[in-house]
């Protein structure tokens, strides 16, 4: 979340994705005490057939689901529908204040958007930036997760605590702190590197680099902790058996651990793609709303600026729809991957 809140989400991050629940070998609960089972009355108990031991329960599941469905329907599904609708309308300040009725424009907003060079530039920047963030986050997160398994308790605790600190830092304070660290006049980084009053936010790529560093800093802990937990969950007998069979370190990693960890790696990758594609706060704060002449805009900030800064709500919505479709494609790809492995939802 970014942000997320972690951009999360941290930041906002935290509208997080990625179902850790689907990962890993399913360890069936083995605690079922046999005597209890024999105590069950003979014959099918009403409403609770034995197959899969799942009660059918009639309306009960829907009762349990009702609050969630109401919430999601009203505040997620309906806004998505509205977003799509507005993207087909003429919706500017006049319509917002109720002065003029919203007029249907068909695909005119989209043709206007696609004819705009800036849109393609922003799209390209978004994809490139998100890809760089994902690669760096995964590389750092996985490398440190492996590192964590090879060190003793005290350095491990130090690294975990530092990472938790970075994870917990709200994306907005993280952004201001990193901005300050790289401040041309008063920041310690320029001083350390001896580059005088070089301004990081002035150049397009150095500004993106600064945002990337902040994003990686606040999002690698999720990857690290998750992968670390995954490695810890690998039974040591398997590794010992592999070592006894004479497998080399590298071989163990490649042939034993990677296949076991693959579901987790897929999850953190998809998660990172979704988070980093949606980065908002970091760009907005560090590059002050998209950089000089919009050179650091990404789709999310671009949509926001179009809608709320220049009151072109329909164009902003169209950008939102484009983002939605791209992320939908990522999610569907992930679902196909799950299905191919025969994972049960």
């Amino acid at each position: 979340m970014t942000d997320a809140a972690l951009p999360p989400e941290p930041g906002g991050a935290v509208t997080t994705a990625g179902p850790p629940g689907t990962a890993g070998p399913v360890a069936a609960p083995t605690t079922g005490p046999a005597p209890r089972r024999t105590a069950r009355p003979a014959g099918p108990s009403p409403g609770r057939p034995r197959r899969g031991a799942r009660p059918r329960g009639g309306w009960t599941p829907w009762l349990y689901l009702a609050p969630a469905l109401v919430c999601l329907g009203g505040l997620l599904v309906y806004p998505v529908y509205q977003l799509g609708l507005i993207s087909f309308l003429e919706y500017t300040q006049a319509q917002v204040s109720g002065g003029e009725p919203a007029r249907f424009r068909g695909l005119a907003n989209y043709t206007e958007l696609f004819a705009d060079d800036q849109f393609w530039q922003v799209l390209l920047a978004t994809v490139g930036f998100a890809a760089a963030c994902v690669v760096c986050t995964l590389a750092v997160g996985c490398a440190l997760a492996v590192l964590l398994t090879r060190i003793r308790a005290i350095p491990r605790l130090a690294l975990l605590l530092a990472a938790l600190g970075a994870w917990a830092t709200p994306s907005i304070t993280g952004s201001t702190v990193w901005l300050f660290l790289f401040d041309p006049d008063f920041g310690p980084v320029n001083r350390l590197l001896g580059i005088g009053d070089h301004s990081w936010t002035y150049g397009r790529y150095s500004a993106f680099l600064l945002v990337l560093l902040e994003v990686v800093w606040c999002s690698f802990p999720f990857v690290m902790v998750t992968v670390y937990a995954g490695i810890r969950a690998v039974p040591s007998e398997i590794l010992e058996a592999a070592a006894l069979d004479g497998a080399s370190q590298w071989r163990i990693w490649r042939s034993v651990l990677t296949p076991i960890l693959r579901p987790i790696l897929v999850i953190v990758t998809v998660q990172s793609v979704i988070w980093d594609f949606k980065v908002f706060t970091q760009i907005y704060v560090i590059t002050n709303g998209g950089g000089i002449a919009g050179q650091n805009l990404v789709l999310n900030v671009y949509a926001y600026q179009k809608a709320f800064a220049s009151s072109q709500y329909s164009l902003g919505s169209a950008i939102g729809v484009v983002m939605l479709l791209i992320l939908l494609a990522v999610t569907l790809g992930y679902l196909r991957l799950l299905r191919r492995r025969g994972e049960e939802l």
């Binding site: 999360p8 890993g24 709200p170 594609f277």
Partner: protein
């Protein structure tokens, strides 16, 4: 080759020793030094934030920044707390975050129970929809949500921040909790019913306490997303600043041309500390929670 089995040093238990035992000792030392260096680099921004928050103004605005201060002062904090109804913003942020955590935990718990303990039509469809819902870019929905909040007269209220965040944290929370609910043995449920417990009683007195660790891990995510929210706060709280939350207060001090760095860092500290405290409190459960969810 000094140690094939390598002493499982320091309370890590049996589990990790398999991996660690395979590493030779000099490598471990190098790994530990690397880990400590990385930890220092990762922690440095937070250290610098705290340091700058207690530095006197003259030292912050100095072209020769030093990594320590000889005369710590609380001036910046005083400035932050006095000038801009900061306490009120803090309470507002807290109200939003706590409401979101509690509401989304309860709602997600019920929903996760429904999709793991029952078989019904559209169950798989629903699960896929929850998964798809996670990727919806919240930020893109700011525009329609703005109109929705306006139509319901919720602009400039904390409700306009709480409600969307509950909705947006639900899909992930449900996915995450599924694993925890599934891990509670079916036999326990049967036993409870045999002993005459009602559904509601089983739900709240047996299942709920057992799933609590998972709820804690989940609540971390919803807490952060609500606490960090910047976009909704900026878009929905437009005229009534008494309903503002912390991120907006922070931006009062951050003016791109002439930032008051001392104020920004002090405000950042005040905003970061509650999350840090929350994290430290649930840290153990978070790691085991993620592990548990991953192990399913």
């Amino acid at each position: 080759m000094s140690s094939v089995h390598g002493p499982a040093a320091g309370g890590s238990g049996v589990r990790g020793s398999g991996v660690r035992g395979l590493v030779r000792r000099p490598w471990r030392l190098a790994a530990e030094v690397t880990a400590l260096l990385v930890a220092a680099v990762v922690a440095f921004p937070l250290y610098w934030m705290l340091l700058s928050a207690v530095k006197p103004a003259g030292e912050i605005e100095s072209t020769d920044p030093r990594p320590w201060t000889s005369s710590p002062t609380l001036d910046s904090f005083r400035r932050v707390l006095e000038q801009h109804e900061f306490g009120r913003y803090f309470v507002n942020s807290l109200i939003v975050a706590v409401s979101v955590v509690i509401a989304s935990a309860l709602i997600a718990f019920l929903a996760a129970t429904a999709v793991t303990r029952f078989r019904f039509r559209f169950r798989t469809t629903l699960l896929i929809m929850f998964l798809v819902a996670q990727m919806v870019p919240v930020e893109a929905l700011t525009i329609p949500l703005f109109f929705l909040m306006r139509d319901f007269g919720q602009l400039n209220t904390l409700g306009s921040l709480i409600l969307p965040h509950i909705a947006f944290s639900l899909p992930f929370a449900i996915w995450m909790l599924r694993g925890f609910v599934k891990a509670v043995p079916e036999s326990l449920e049967e036993a409870a019913y045999l002993d005459g417990a009602s559904r509601a009683r089983f739900l709240w007195q047996i299942l709920f306490p057992l799933v609590l660790p998972g709820l804690v891990a989940t609540s971390v995510f919803s807490f952060i997303s609500a606490w960090n929210d910047f976009l909704f706060a900026k878009s929905f709280i437009i005229s009534d600043t008494s309903q503002s939350t912390l991120p907006m207060a922070l931006l009062v001090f951050y003016k791109p041309d002439e930032p008051d760095w001392g104020g920004v860092m002090a405000a950042s500290t005040v905003m970061t500390v509650p999350v840090l405290v929350f994290f430290v409190l649930v840290q153990r459960r978070l790691v085991s929670g993620l592990g548990g969810a991953v192990k399913d």
